[in-house]
Subunit: 416 residues, 4 copies
Amino acid sequence: MIVEAIRDRFIATRQRFLTICEPLEVEDYGLQAAEFASPPKWHLAHTTWFFETFLLKQFVPEYQSLEPLYEVLFNSYYNGIGAQYPRGQRGLLSRPLLSEVLAYREHVDRAMLLLLDRNALDADHEMILARTVLGIEHERQHQELFFTDLKYSLGANPLYPSYRFGTSSASEVPLALDWTAFEGGLIEIGYAGDDFCFDNELPRHRVYLESFDIANRLVTNADYQAFVDDGGYARPELWLADGWATVQREQWDSPLHWVEREGVALEFTLDGLKKRAATTPVCHVSGYEAEAYARWADARLPTEAEWEHMAMQTEAGESNSGAFPSELCHPQPAKGSDLGQIYGGCWQWTQTAYSPYPGFAASAGAIGEYNGKFMSNQWVLRGGSCVTPRSQARPTYRNFFYPQDRWQFSGIRLAR
Amino acid sequence: MIVEAIRDRFIATRQRFLTICEPLEVEDYGLQAAEFASPPKWHLAHTTWFFETFLLKQFVPEYQSLEPLYEVLFNSYYNGIGAQYPRGQRGLLSRPLLSEVLAYREHVDRAMLLLLDRNALDADHEMILARTVLGIEHERQHQELFFTDLKYSLGANPLYPSYRFGTSSASEVPLALDWTAFEGGLIEIGYAGDDFCFDNELPRHRVYLESFDIANRLVTNADYQAFVDDGGYARPELWLADGWATVQREQWDSPLHWVEREGVALEFTLDGLKKRAATTPVCHVSGYEAEAYARWADARLPTEAEWEHMAMQTEAGESNSGAFPSELCHPQPAKGSDLGQIYGGCWQWTQTAYSPYPGFAASAGAIGEYNGKFMSNQWVLRGGSCVTPRSQARPTYRNFFYPQDRWQFSGIRLAR
Amino acid sequence: MIVEAIRDRFIATRQRFLTICEPLEVEDYGLQAAEFASPPKWHLAHTTWFFETFLLKQFVPEYQSLEPLYEVLFNSYYNGIGAQYPRGQRGLLSRPLLSEVLAYREHVDRAMLLLLDRNALDADHEMILARTVLGIEHERQHQELFFTDLKYSLGANPLYPSYRFGTSSASEVPLALDWTAFEGGLIEIGYAGDDFCFDNELPRHRVYLESFDIANRLVTNADYQAFVDDGGYARPELWLADGWATVQREQWDSPLHWVEREGVALEFTLDGLKKRAATTPVCHVSGYEAEAYARWADARLPTEAEWEHMAMQTEAGESNSGAFPSELCHPQPAKGSDLGQIYGGCWQWTQTAYSPYPGFAASAGAIGEYNGKFMSNQWVLRGGSCVTPRSQARPTYRNFFYPQDRWQFSGIRLAR
Amino acid sequence: MIVEAIRDRFIATRQRFLTICEPLEVEDYGLQAAEFASPPKWHLAHTTWFFETFLLKQFVPEYQSLEPLYEVLFNSYYNGIGAQYPRGQRGLLSRPLLSEVLAYREHVDRAMLLLLDRNALDADHEMILARTVLGIEHERQHQELFFTDLKYSLGANPLYPSYRFGTSSASEVPLALDWTAFEGGLIEIGYAGDDFCFDNELPRHRVYLESFDIANRLVTNADYQAFVDDGGYARPELWLADGWATVQREQWDSPLHWVEREGVALEFTLDGLKKRAATTPVCHVSGYEAEAYARWADARLPTEAEWEHMAMQTEAGESNSGAFPSELCHPQPAKGSDLGQIYGGCWQWTQTAYSPYPGFAASAGAIGEYNGKFMSNQWVLRGGSCVTPRSQARPTYRNFFYPQDRWQFSGIRLAR
């Protein structure tokens, strides 16, 4: 990519974070209802820290930091950079104030734009551009986390505050589940384009697949309700042993954000409590719940290779269909009986444990901690959700969470 | 007391909370760094809830609540009223906003003033006045907790923010510890005046005391440093068994809010990090630390009866001396070699477990939960600290905390 | 006491431990179902360690230890002696074998008898005798713990094994609760005889008591059942706050060792599961349960001074009555309507927190850790239970446990 | 297999458990030093329970159980059978006594032999034989767990008791690490023979492999010491994030069972504490440690497909070489520079998360819980250790443990 394009993308991405924060009140910026759910203010600062740490401090000798402690306060997990303020205590940072964090953003943005302008002929030019693109993609990931973390934290408030949008009037006509068949054989997976991808999407490599069928749409609230009604959360034979232990320990009996009030089935959304629509995809289920549902339904979760193979065949149509519900922070019902809902609804749990592709090598230095060190105990999710930046919805993108996690917009697509 | 006096006291007390909040930023109002350290906004709302719950909802049939859920959100521990929002999650209530909590205060204040005005001839008149006075004293207690909780929560931020005041320029001339002797015999303790007291200060009753000596001043930072330097935190023989277990588990090696930075002895105050003054009282020690220090110093902590007996003899002089450092949120050095520092410096740990006086009876109903149900496992502290409302500094006032607690302004006075 | 008497008492006490162990199987000797419930084999070894550590190693230069590591393995909590094997892991010591522990006992016994014989004229003579007496009393305490710990550990086995005795055929004729009045005034408590007492029973000192009534018998299973049936475990207003938190956390709904099976009220005893008798004292209740029961019954627990004063007036009759059910490891019903059941049934919770008497001083050195360091957070129990050695049942004996503890034979006597 | 062969195998396997128990003392049979380390007595009973539950109770209508509660006490994790006595409390079952458990074994053995004899023409004949074989293999797995659990539990005793064997005089001549290259391509993995295999070894299926190299021997104590000396346990960049968190939480600084005493490098073995031999394989490392070591050594762990492919090429030589150190419960040094140590030394961690092969289906009913429900969060280990029954050492056998587990005889073979 040329500098101008990166510069524009940088400005637009940085600006978008301010835009999606607009509906917040000052009090909301510090909210952290769980160790994993960072406050909005921290996301604003950490994404800034990323540019400061991996670009300005490395390539701009005269760069002046506003406050040396920010290096510690806004370091997420990079041991190569140094100490980190405890993750679970990010909500305790009433200072720096929101206004100070915004000033920090401006300070870094100014320095970044100078850096992008002046380095065209430098030896480090390529590295600077690559790092900037990584910082942009990193910020996009945090913009998605902004939504999921915020939803989790607001959901801990019995007043169920609304963040912003309507959730749209979902069609209530149910659509039968159907299967699409794919031939097995020796295929290839992994990124092969010439735009950006994360290191964990590489290298492209061969995989042997058996033939498989995949569902044309995501599992809906109504589908999942049938599982609940059939005693799904009380029958250990449907669950992995670790999943069952989690159900018992956490006393789960429905997806996160499902609410029952005086006999009415509700759902907490980023627009507050709403009636739970039968035809929208079930969302905020853990990998364990997805896996148990699949077993109950005499099916299974796809592998990540199957999912990617499926997406490569069908992506074009999907992305032309304008499936992204841009401003709606809630998954929408399937639009037709063709294979769909690939992106823009819910992330889709696969049965594949997150591990390195054959030949994977992490980058040198602290930046190498980005993805590689998380390659154990997590499961791969594929696709993208209603709060995923559109640019990150691609067939090869590997999202990953622990099988017990359910605060993401995560849903279920069946295979067999 | 007559209605007018109560009315004035009500208005002044309610106003004072707003005054002491003035130095805060909006972001600070939601801060909660531990389950025991409630956010400023919650204190503002809970003290309001107290008047709403125990007065307006009981004596004003037409009273309209602003939001029914406040009954749950701002109930501290009154099972007789109903469910309580979990104590440790008060910092998660970004809503109601600060402005909404302030509106809640105004709403309740208006209704309270109407209630105080119109009920002069009612059957409930006496009860209403008594409850109002209790509500005022309750709010004063929370104004003290505002300071201690805020100090704890700001202290969790590596930026060590300042709340407001200077901490005064403490004299550095050390004052030798001296002892005052008191005769034993059959004495009386418990409240005997005709103003307000809490139920736990009653009934006044006889206690037999052996003769005892009591220290004329509080233990200073310099005194306590000698204990630390002598291996105080590494010698189990100086500690109660439960205290030693706490030291090990919490890895204590100095009082809370002591900070060492590049070899300099500092102390976190409500005006940020300051040099630790040798002559100011040691503060923020647990009962276990106080008890271990006393053993190390070949002394002991006073009993609560000894302390009260001492204070009754010396109070007049003390309270005439203007010992209250009004606007300084930090204990001050002793002013002379006479028995002093009784109020206005640090709460003083006694060796007495908090239990009911002979013949104690809690009030009927939920209000009876105010004090009585806490009469186990805690220790009595006497006196009052630099952030205690002056009206609550009296010889008979019984403060109580767990022996492991140290986020209050708690210090040490020796006896033998 | 003269040497011969101590020698005899030593031999008899050491022998008694072997006698009470006789019903055990080898497999039972290592049983530890909770951190607080030490295995029989460990008690056998630890009581031996006490003589070895505080007598042989100090007064017999040529004494040879069988195994140096025993110093660590069988040290209970004496930091002054050195490191301790973790308390909760005592059940993991399959080695030393039972036969090796018995050999250890014999080895130490031989050396102790030699020591007692030869030192008649030594400078250390008095100290050696005093320590030996303390060691004997210490072993007697552990013989009581042997029963309580064993009952707890066997009770964790769904087979509910029997240890030995019948539990006697309890009379089923209920006896009405009655009150005995005692005059208040300035009294004295604390040990005043010339036989042995523990340091915590000293010094004898004056206490002022208000007049009080005390119940003539212990609370029975039938009494307590009425409390349970009245929702006692579901009504927070009956409980201390810490007690209520314990009820919730531990999900208590009846005393320890109560068992319900197919609608039949049973009780685990040292003779296995038995029908729960209405007239036997309720046993294995915590201090919290005792206190809540008393509140429900419009009464209260006695203070330890009240209890001791009561016992001093009535002891003679009691101990002449042969109240000790010698070989029955289960409390027996009250025998008549006079004030009774003072010893030999259940320990009786008082409302008094365990703390030092005025002027208390612990012994110097590690032996000083015996009692003093536990004087916080525990409650005093008075009397003695059906498994208490008769020699330790005296009016001034201060037993102490945490208010949440209930594996002792602890019951309830009311006062008002 | 014909009935006679199964009958013989049944008798031999049942007998072998008694043989390997012979060196134990009665006290050792109840030992459980961690939730995962079941006592010998429990293993003896549970393997018996397996035959009783899945054969006698299903196929022998007149079968009489000795004690109905055994169904609960000795059920490991089969929810389909019913409730289970808590896993972590197995050490609390002093009853049934060892003699009773041995009688239980005889009772079941008699019934099993009758069942095997009489059913030759029954409809259930095939099912009974298959279940019997499964029960035999199950017992063999528990015979291995007997060793690993016992080693863990004895290792918690500071006396470091010996179980039985010498550990052999290990050669101290180090052998250079060398690599063997394997061609990639489309290969097959999974069991293909006609003897027994577990369900998780099926179905045999195709996998595409890149070319790879594999180490000719296991990593030795000397190799691993170099990693420790190079700060391996203090450098987060060498670890997976979850591994690093485990190192910090557990304060690991060396493999389990390594002991340092007065500067001498020792190792706890089933023959007590021994000098740590440089040339024996490092053992009792977790998956995280294996993975970190590999990264430090510029290598990686093999995938399970790579390992199986390697073993299929080399097995013949290996198993002809008599590599099994039959009676030595300790891994032995490599014998030569050829690719070796495939079985009989240490289980070898792979980088592969344990998951179902494509097309895997668990058996119907409770027996289906055997393997399938554990297919998450664990890692596959391949090979077999010095305590693995020889019959279970085969190329397709999939062992699995959590990456933090290290009480098995687990070691490291590198790949690249």
